[in-house]
């Protein structure tokens, strides 16, 4: 018996009309065919403006496909945010008027759970993200990395089956990114959720993902899918592995020409 993919995209295209004029459209994405397996860590890399975030928004139900079908656990998404999906954005999405604890509790407000269960989940998320000493602090009192942890905790507390990460470490320094990467890997293992990561950093994708989708310049299509072959039990030390360099080199080979296209220098040598 074949298992239904957790997320499937079939012949998905996304067009945007310029200035609201339907006659003047931009083909932003597609056609894309992709299946995410249950419990895998899938990363997407691509040149700037190739539609990586658009792809994530389609999967999150924040946007609808112009053509094709996006399904989560076999059911079409069609612009409705499905239950069981959590999203962490690149920008700081913590609510500045709420304490860390209340920010995390926010994710639970729709869930019909007994108060003890809610409290348990909040404590678990606080502990998992190392936020226990800051539970009563406000986001303005925390660093950028800590605020991002609050956003991840707010997503985790709902126990999503699919976690979408839109360049979540984009605003962080390299060392914090590596450490946050370790934390995400740890969470992925503990929760068993499927993770779909959008990133522009090849090393980040190579370190975190089981599979990496490489996107072309606009209109973004998947031009290569790289299997990293990493064991499930891994952390940032994997960057020392010999094959890590080979993976990033392959990603760059696939991406170089596309990146040149995205800055208008296709076919030239720099």
């Amino acid at each position: 018996m074949t298992q239904i993919a957790q997320v499937s995209l079939r012949q998905v295209d996304k067009m945007f009309s310029r200035g609201g004029n339907p006659a003047d459209t931009v083909h932003a994405l597609g056609p894309i065919d992709l299946e995410l397996r249950h419990g895998e860590f899938f990363a997407v890399v691509g040149p700037s403006g190739c539609g990586k975030s658009t792809l994530l928004e389609l999967v999150a139900g924040l946007s609808t496909a112009t053509r094709g079908e996006v399904a989560f656990e076999g059911k079409p998404i069609e612009g409705r945010i499905p239950d069981g999906v959590g999203v962490v954005f690149q920008e700081d999405a913590s609510f500045p008027w709420l304490s860390v604890r209340d920010n995390i509790a926010f994710g639970l407000r729709r869930m019909k759970l007994p108060p003890e269960e809610k409290a348990k989940r909040i404590e678990k998320a606080l502990a998992m993200m190392g936020l226990v000493p800051f539970a009563e602090s406000y986001p303005s009192q925390l660093s950028g990395g800590m605020r991002q942890r609050v956003c991840i905790a707010r997503t985790l507390v709902t126990e999503p089956r699919l976690i979408l990460l839109d360049e979540p470490f984009g605003a962080l320094d390299q060392q914090t990114r590596l450490l946050m990467g370790d934390e995400v890997l740890n969470l992925w293992r503990k929760t068993g959720a499927t993770v779909f990561l959008i990133t522009h950093a090849l090393d980040e994708a190579a370190m975190l993902a089981d599979r990496i989708g490489v996107m072309s310049a606009r209109p973004g299509r998947l031009i290569d899918i790289v299997e990293t072959g990493w064991p499930r039990d891994r952390d940032s030390r994997i960057v020392q592995e010999e094959s890590f360099g080979a993976i990033t080199a392959r990603l760059w080979r696939s991406l170089r020409e596309e990146s040149m296209k995205s800055i208008g220098k296709a076919g030239t040598t720099i």
Binding site: D83, F89, E91, A93, P96, G107, R110
Partner: protein, 250 residues
């Protein structure tokens, strides 16, 4: 940090001291103005005797109603206008010129429409405050980061829940700025209207006292209005400051 406050208090004390000296020295005649200490004692007497409690309650009650109407209608209108680009483009230039309109000139018309009771005064008070609330709320709503709206959608929140739980709390420091102005405008509207055409309230009593050279009533009432307005304003400003500090903005 405390020195600006100290300077402000010194300037105020100096001004009051100067007035006191000018009044006691006879430079300012008792018929024109009483010395500040006399104004304060008259106010205490007035409040303890309860002679003008009815007028004070009427004015402050109506100002409160006008303020609440300005806040509810102002915030609701701003949420709607913020979502409708065309409506906003049409109305925004009108907001900019709104305070050029002498609302009090419409008082006779308002009496015809709303009767002789308190309604026309409340209407003027509310109308004076509402645009300040709308403009400041719109300013706050413009500053809500898009990522918070996306977060609301990811959390499957509808427009009303998004407004109540995300956009309005996010815009609250700006809404409080509007509230500060609305308090002042509501009081101006109510007292101004009572001056023109009313048989009660602090504005009427000030006008009546003025016409009868009753400085023992007029100045304490003016002082009371100042104290009420400044106290409410300072309380809201403190709240606004606390909200901003919590967000690391001040």
């Amino acid at each position: 940090m405390r020195s600006p406050l100290l300077w402000r208090l010194l300037v105020l004390a100096g001004f009051i001291g100067l007035l006191e000296a000018l009044c006691l020295g006879g430079v300012i005649k008792p018929l024109t103005m009483q010395p500040p200490h006399k104004i304060v004692t008259d106010l205490v007497k007035m409040l303890s005797s309860g002679s003008l409690n009815g007028a004070i309650a009427k004015t402050l009650g109506n100002a409160l109603i006008a303020f609440i109407i300005a806040m509810i209608l102002g915030v609701t209108s701003a949420i709607i206008i913020h979502r409708l680009r065309r409506v906003r483009d049409t109305l925004e230039p009108l907001f900019a010129t709104y305070y050029a309109i002498p609302v009090f000139a419409f008082y006779p018309l308002l009496i015809i429409l709303l009767g002789l009771g308190d309604a026309p005064q409340i209407f003027i008070g509310a109308m004076l405050g509402i645009v300040a609330v709308i403009v400041n709320t719109l300013n706050g709503l413009d500053r809500v980061p898009n990522v918070l709206l996306k977060t609301a959608r990811v959390n499957q929140m509808g427009p009303v829940e998004t407004a109540l739980r995300v956009t309005l709390p996010c815009a609250s420091p700006y809404i409080l700025t509007g509230a500060k102005l609305a308090v002042a405008y509501s009081l101006i509207g109510i007292i101004g209207a009572e001056f023109i055409m009313s048989s009660g309230g602090m504005g009427y009593e000030i006008s009546f006292a003025y016409n009868n050279f009753d400085n023992a009533t007029m100045y304490p009432l003016i002082l009371l209005i100042l104290v009420v307005s400044i106290t409410i304003n300072m309380a809201i400003a403190r709240w606004e400051k606390a909200l901003m500090a919590k967000r690391g903005l001040r």
